[in-house]
């Protein structure tokens, strides 16, 4: 078995240790004897081809870098949308999450999004910054991370990634964080997200493998003592 992971625009969107997420996906496949290939698609690359890609990762960047990425990505809107609708796995963090929506309204301009999710984002007054803990209904482990975003994302009827146990989430009073849609996991959590959330990482991997190999049943357990301890530490420290 082999899974191909594409990091989209790591030259622009790589703000909060995103490469940790890529390493986590890759290593957790390799540790199970599953081949993993990681490719990058940068600003300088031509010939956007995601036909054999299993997991796309879209990270975070500053507002300026996000604008550049968005204009590039809009050229590939149709392919990305078809990828998601056909069950491809997409992980989007921070800026990447906002780009999946209809638009991101800043003070003086509006950035058009990919319109893959029926959500939109508006710039708020202060940045929402801090450690955050979520409870998701598809895994037993709480999801922990760090959020730092000026945007407030309104997800309409979409299913959130999780309920906020502590922290802000999509907006100050949203009570919910991120979006989970088909095999898309979109979230404001960086930290980076995946190394401290092994269950979430495995959920993403399992979906991607199943999509490519329908006969696949489940991932083998691996030693997650350190990951779980790190996760547990954050939960114990911040959830009162």
């Amino acid at each position: 078995m082999k899974i191909k992971i594409m990091h989209l625009y790591p030259d622009l969107l790589n703000l909060y240790g995103d490469r940790g997420n890529i390493e986590c996906l890759r290593r957790r496949l390799l540790w199970r004897g599953i081949d993993a290939e990681v490719v990058s698609y940068t600003c300088d690359d031509k010939g956007f081809d995601i036909s054999d890609v299993d997991i796309i990762f879209l990270g975070g960047g500053s507002d300026r870098e996000q604008k550049i990425v968005c204009s590039r990505l809009l050229e590939h809107k149709a392919e990305l949308s078809a990828f998601v609708e056909n069950g491809g796995s997409l992980v989007a963090v921070c800026g990447g999450y906002q780009l999946l929506g209809k638009y991101y309204k800043l003070e003086d301009e509006t950035i058009e999004g990919l319109d893959i999710l029926n959500i939109y984002t508006e710039q708020g007054k202060k940045r929402l910054i801090g450690n955050i803990v979520l409870e998701a209904d598809f895994i037993t482990q709480k999801i922990v991370g760090f959020e730092n975003h000026g945007g407030r994302t309104y997800i309409g009827s979409h299913k959130p990634l999780g309920r906020v146990v502590c922290g802000y989430g999509n907006a100050e009073d949203a009570g919910a964080e991120g979006v989970i849609y088909k095999n898309v996991v979109a979230t404001y959590l960086h930290g980076p997200l995946l190394p401290k959330n092994p269950q979430l990482c495995d959920y993403i991997l399992k979906n991607a493998i199943k999509h490519k190999y329908p006969e696949f049943t489940d991932l083998e357990p691996i030693d997650d003592l350190l990951e779980n301890t790190a996760n547990d530490y954050i939960v114990k420290r911040f959830v009162k």
Partner: protein, 443 residues
């Protein structure tokens, strides 16, 4: 009278702090400011010659203290926030320490390092004559939001400062932009040759701050520092007024500034920038620099700047606060050919930045080579740093919540040197542990 009470109260607090063994680098000042808020702005009239401010992400404390040492070596009285407390309260504390019991301060110069985020507040009270900006790297993201925000803050602060001379790092595309504003008078210092291997570490500033295009580099030193040029709008590295060439990185380090040779005993390539900034600033304020090397003899590095503690083998303590700093510390560790044990401590208190995602932007995997004996992780975020290594495929030999245990264990191996790399709030406790262990050994 209010001012005098403020000074006395602050001095008393410093004294009490010393009695109970606490380093009071900012709290006495904060207290004094409550009593007499105008304390800091009095500096404008007290300082006889000039106020020199240093800001920038890395190298502030070293540059500021070098500047102070150089001026003191020339026989001047200098007011300086030496300990690196760099907000308004830290400046006030420096004032208190310089004042006598009648409240008088003798100061020819003031050398002040100021935290970038606080420059607009501080410059409302103090009008600097010279501002040195060392560099801008990604730092404590949760506090500043993003680096673009820091840039805007500094631009506003420069406007607020009024008639000021800027001393800028020519190699940093983020710094150079400050010299382009109309009416600004700037000089530049830079390293004009390829020195280090061209590795691809995190370059957060690799986009043109003017037009947003990706910058081209003829060579670079580390992070985004180098000979840059924007292919789209022509923004480029200016020709340095203070030009560094013939660099030899070793012990001692050797290089030329505008053709005159220098020799220094500090570790770390980045110290060349710190020295060049001081050299340039001295020129700007009209002080002679022919005896530059001699001027710096009295300089003692602050704690944690590759500071050596002697045991049965040396233990070298290094403070880093962000990816650029850690990458430089790791590069410096790797230039040491001896077999070594490495201890890394990561905290996430307010002064460290609560967000530890930057750990994933550091090239920690480079610490692993045949000369690394054992690797130990510790600190409040011991699990995060350990995970960082796990996903880099590097085994951590020891995870502990005790720095003392970590150092003892490293001292017991057959290595020749121990490096302890810490971030900010881990620094003083680690220094405490090392002093304590030295005492125990002497006893």
């Amino acid at each position: 009278m209010r001012k005098l009470i403020a000074i006395w109260a602050g001095k008393l607090l410093t004294f009490v702090g010393k009695l109970i063994g606490r380093k009071s680098s900012s709290s006495p000042g904060a207290f004094a400011l409550k009593i007499y808020p105008a304390l800091v702005s009095d500096l404008n009239s007290i300082v006889k010659k000039k106020i020199i401010v240093t800001c920038g992400t890395n190298g502030k404390t070293t540059t500021n203290n070098l500047m102070c040492s150089a001026l003191e070596a020339k026989g001047y009285k200098v007011l300086c926030n030496r300990l690196g407390a760099n907000m308004l309260s830290g400046v006030a504390t420096a004032y208190l320490q310089a004042a006598d019991m009648s409240g008088r301060v003798q100061a020819d110069y003031a050398c002040l390092e100021i935290d970038e985020a606080y420059t607009p507040i501080v410059f409302k009270q103090i009008k600097p004559d010279v501002i040195i900006i060392t560099n801008l790297f990604r730092d404590q993201l949760d506090r500043y939001g993003e680096i673009d925000i820091t840039v805007d803050i500094i631009k506003k602060a420069i406007e607020e400062a009024g008639d000021v001379r800027l001393v800028l790092n020519a190699d940093d595309p983020l710094c150079v932009q400050f010299g382009r504003a109309s009416g600004v008078r700037a000089v530049y210092y830079g390293i004009s040759e390829k020195v280090l291997p061209q590795v691809d570490d995190t370059k957060e500033g690799r986009f043109c701050p003017i037009c947003g295009s990706e910058l081209e580099f003829e060579f670079y030193h580390y992070s985004q520092l180098g000979k840059f040029r924007c292919p789209a709008c022509g923004y480029r590295r200016p020709e340095p007024d203070y030009d560094i060439t013939n660099v030899y990185v070793g012990t001692p380090m050797r290089f030329d500034i505008n053709g005159s040779p220098m020799k220094i005993n500090y570790k770390g390539f980045y110290n060349i920038y710190n020295l060049a900034g001081v050299y340039a600033a001295l020129n700007v304020i009209g002080e002679t620099v022919n005896d530059f090397g001699k001027l710096l003899e009295g300089y003692k590095p602050q704690i944690g700047r590759m500071q050596e503690f002697m045991f049965n083998k040396p233990v070298i303590l290094s403070l880093s606060k962000n990816p650029a700093g850690f990458n430089q510390a790791i590069a410096t560790v790797n230039t040491d050919e001896r077999k070594k044990d490495v201890i890394i401590a990561i905290n996430d208190l307010a002064n460290d930045g609560r967000d530890v995602s930057w750990l994933w932007d550091v090239d920690f995997h480079k610490i692993k080579n045949e000369r690394l004996n054992t690797l130990t992780t510790t600190g409040i975020r011991v699990y995060d740093i350990s995970l960082r290594f796990k996903y880099a495929g590097i085994d951590v030999d020891m995870m502990t919540d005790s720095m003392k245990a970590a150092v003892k264990s490293a001292l017991a191996t057959d290595s020749k040197v121990v490096y302890v790399l810490v971030n900010y709030t881990a620094l003083y406790p680690t220094e405490g542990v090392l002093n304590e262990l030295q005492k125990e050994e002497g006893a």
